[in-house]
Subunit: 594 residues, 2 copies
Amino acid sequence: MGESIFGMKRTHRCAEINVSNVGQQVTVMGWTQKRRDLGGLIFVDLRDRSGIVQLVFNNEIDSEVFKKAESIRNEYVLAVTGEVVKRDPETINPKLLTGEIEIIAKELRILSTSETPPFYIEEDTDVNEALRLKYRYLDLRRPDMQRNLILRHKIAKIARDYYDQHGFLEIETPMLTKSTPEGARDYLVPSRVHPGKFYALPQSPQLFKQLLMVSGFDRYMQIVKCFRDEDLRADRQPEFTQIDLEMSFVNVEDVLEINEGFIVKVFEEALGIKLETPFIRMPYQEAMDRFGTDKPDIRFGLELVNVSDLVENCGFKVFADAVKNGGSVRAINAKGGGRHFSRREIDSLVEFVKTYRAKGLAWIVVEENELKSPITKFFNDEEIKAILERVAAEPGDLICFVADKNQVVYDALGQLRLEIARKMDLIDESQFKFLWVTEFPLLEYDEEEKRYVAKHHPFTSPMDEDIKYLDTEPEKVRAKAYDIVLNGTEIGGGSIRIHDQALQSKMFKLLGFTEEQAWDRFGFLLEAFKYGTPPHGGLAFGLDRLVMLMARRSSIRDVIAFPKVQNASDLMTGAPDVVEDKQIEELHIKLSGQ
Amino acid sequence: MGESIFGMKRTHRCAEINVSNVGQQVTVMGWTQKRRDLGGLIFVDLRDRSGIVQLVFNNEIDSEVFKKAESIRNEYVLAVTGEVVKRDPETINPKLLTGEIEIIAKELRILSTSETPPFYIEEDTDVNEALRLKYRYLDLRRPDMQRNLILRHKIAKIARDYYDQHGFLEIETPMLTKSTPEGARDYLVPSRVHPGKFYALPQSPQLFKQLLMVSGFDRYMQIVKCFRDEDLRADRQPEFTQIDLEMSFVNVEDVLEINEGFIVKVFEEALGIKLETPFIRMPYQEAMDRFGTDKPDIRFGLELVNVSDLVENCGFKVFADAVKNGGSVRAINAKGGGRHFSRREIDSLVEFVKTYRAKGLAWIVVEENELKSPITKFFNDEEIKAILERVAAEPGDLICFVADKNQVVYDALGQLRLEIARKMDLIDESQFKFLWVTEFPLLEYDEEEKRYVAKHHPFTSPMDEDIKYLDTEPEKVRAKAYDIVLNGTEIGGGSIRIHDQALQSKMFKLLGFTEEQAWDRFGFLLEAFKYGTPPHGGLAFGLDRLVMLMARRSSIRDVIAFPKVQNASDLMTGAPDVVEDKQIEELHIKLSGQ
């Protein structure tokens, strides 16, 4: 290793020492995990990034070193030179990499002492997170947190190697840029040199990476910090990291292929997991119809079944009306759910779907020779027979129905599907199931703003065969947009961009921008498009989420060294904080309070 | 390559095609560099990131494609399929990688048209920089700008590979952090969630990387954006990029070795240049005495010579007084300068040093059998003999003297040395000469603030043997700090940090912080130091400057994709810019004007 300090030179990291080193003299440096005294012997577990090794201080071998060792407490930083010896068979610790050996200490330097830390440094602590974050530098000493950040380093390194090998150039885009209010809220930075003007921190390098394609760089990638001033959810941070990329002269399939290749490589190299390829490509509409969501978890079945055609004229008004009003009636067959769920549990499922705006949940429990259900009485035998056939019902099944506007049916059954899977323990947590969801709608109608908004962003290209609908039925237009979904979580998405000025202007009109507004916000991009724009498209992965899922954690805070909490503050540094008046004045601003 | 668009699939980048492809059918996509018509033939130079290839459209071979080709203008984006053929010997262009071949076009798609660009896309343009920056996406099409950014990508990639191979982990530190006003001015970000409070953008990850050492990560690196709200100089940007790193359990030499290894590797792999190692290690005081600066350009001699002892009792009052008042008299022998410089040129050198606060410049021109000089009359023969001996004067030499306070003498002669070297053309621009400057003073006395300030930063460790002077003669204390200098430019620097709480508190006292101020600003770091801090140190390279020097450019703007100009604005996007009132109100601030 070659480091040396106070004349001692570290020869190994703690857990790099094993039986092959027996008889050698080694020097290790690290933190005291624990100390045990046994008469004339002191045992110290020394910890560094690699793991733990056991040190032995023997009063008979060296009483001076032994005396010094008596002052050692937890988290003291030590430098120790000694001889590696085999442990007695009965003291071998199979849980430790170094469990077969120990180091008989000959020289000891206490490099730094420690007060008693606010919590014990151990794997999978149950200390509350607020305390962990206040003392993050101690929390990060815990082996699981070290593994998470080491894994994050590996994943980022593999990404850079992979895209470099495929001709991508990492090019840095600005952090101090122009506010383009569309999408989330910008973080603003007041300018000292230009009174009354502000920079914005980028929500993504979108415009810049498209300009790099206009510049002819052909293949761009960047692992880059992005910023959104949103009210935080568990899986959101005000600053987050994207693996961001863009390619010229490509179609949708080209982009999916190259990025699928990255996912395969990173799972193989970082986790030793071989993924099946190609990943499924599933159009948005199919995902909604089969799973009720555009980010389906395909580790299990329980797919939605549309029974609208079978019930539109039935005697059950709730079902018939839903269909007549342009909605639908869809079902999930929870195989074996009839036996698994008690009547009370079924009632709780009814309550569950109501939290997703469904008015209710109709159900049928199929038994050997009867049906238990509050709704069968409204149907004639042919209708029941047809429904049970459609959902492939067998004795023991629980059939659940929601009838409503399509979006409500999708949301309610999509969530119910996950809920039933959890309750019936149908999810194999060891699996990583990817798919591409494609052909997203280009536009969404925003009820609040009473206008269409871009589902992905304003530069997303419509599908060639749908362009004809842009003027007449814009809601029908599908986009060359795609998401990559892992176990029901979206970990990335992108699109082929519009490279035609006329089409881009039409798009802005659809979004309710005047020419002037469009130019005011995106003028430099529209100007650039006048001078020869290659067809191009790209994608961005959410690195924090990808690492979280690969590390099998439930919070992205566990894969970020210094994260912020719900209210966007940093419990360790106290940021954000008050600043000196002089600093504020220089920025030509005042606090509203004053 | 595998990209496909409108049914055509790119098979090669333009300059990847050569004689080995003759007879093959290829498809290329790129920008029109120029078009030439010759009767029934149209020649198009097609450009992409790899370079240029010549396309031939032949009316007799395909009149339809030929017709289409007639509409091609500069910067049109084309997709062309055709056959690779050898050029006639007389039309071979040795300047082009592809100069021996051309492509007979069989299929042409105009992917995008272009208006006439505001300037022609060519190597080493003389277009003024403001226009280049307004149309940066076009400026970046120029081959030299493409080379610069490709080189930058390579350098960053090599850095990550090298430090990864040496056990460094890349760990991301926060961009939204706490303002610690010491050093330059912070960029502030008003918080929407916490009225009256602000985040600061980091001037460097200094505190966080030290906390990562407290956490036991052992070896950290990050290529990271940093921010300084300063009035810009030619070589400064409000946002700049550092290769930032930190190591535990190390001394100064360990840090120098590992980073010297990186420099050697990056020059070898990115430029094919083998550097001599080890780089010179030169203590700060030696650098000042020999070169008058702490960032000496050692590609040439012209070293400073101290003659104070020879003149302190001489008859020339200016010299004698300078020494008596604690200053010095130093000389530079410009070998052959006596012949090279006219009297008028020597006078201009006198004016030159005055711009560096020197009251004047004394000089002697040594000729075969006489001395030309305004000052020799003040000296007796022994004194003159001694001086000429000391500076190894020979006929033809020009000896220049400055007498003043030491700092003035250093500045004036240090600059004069560079000026003479330029005028006498002594600098070999093909050379890359590195050295480490070490043992910097720990403190500087700030005349304005009437207090000591840290020369490097408040966490820098004093040299062990100088700690004893901290209370008595702090200005005498040297630090475990170091800079790496390339051809007279500082490209990086760092230090071993204080890891002892008592010493750190003493340091803050010396810097005039009260306990409270210190804790208010750096409390989380001081708190962390209570729980076992390893000895640690690190360094940061200025990536922009390193790339600039390796690309042999004179401005860092030429190695940054989207740089800002002197007044910190972006001429392309118009950032910073006004924002909507709603955005400002949400941040609980008002513009001072209102």
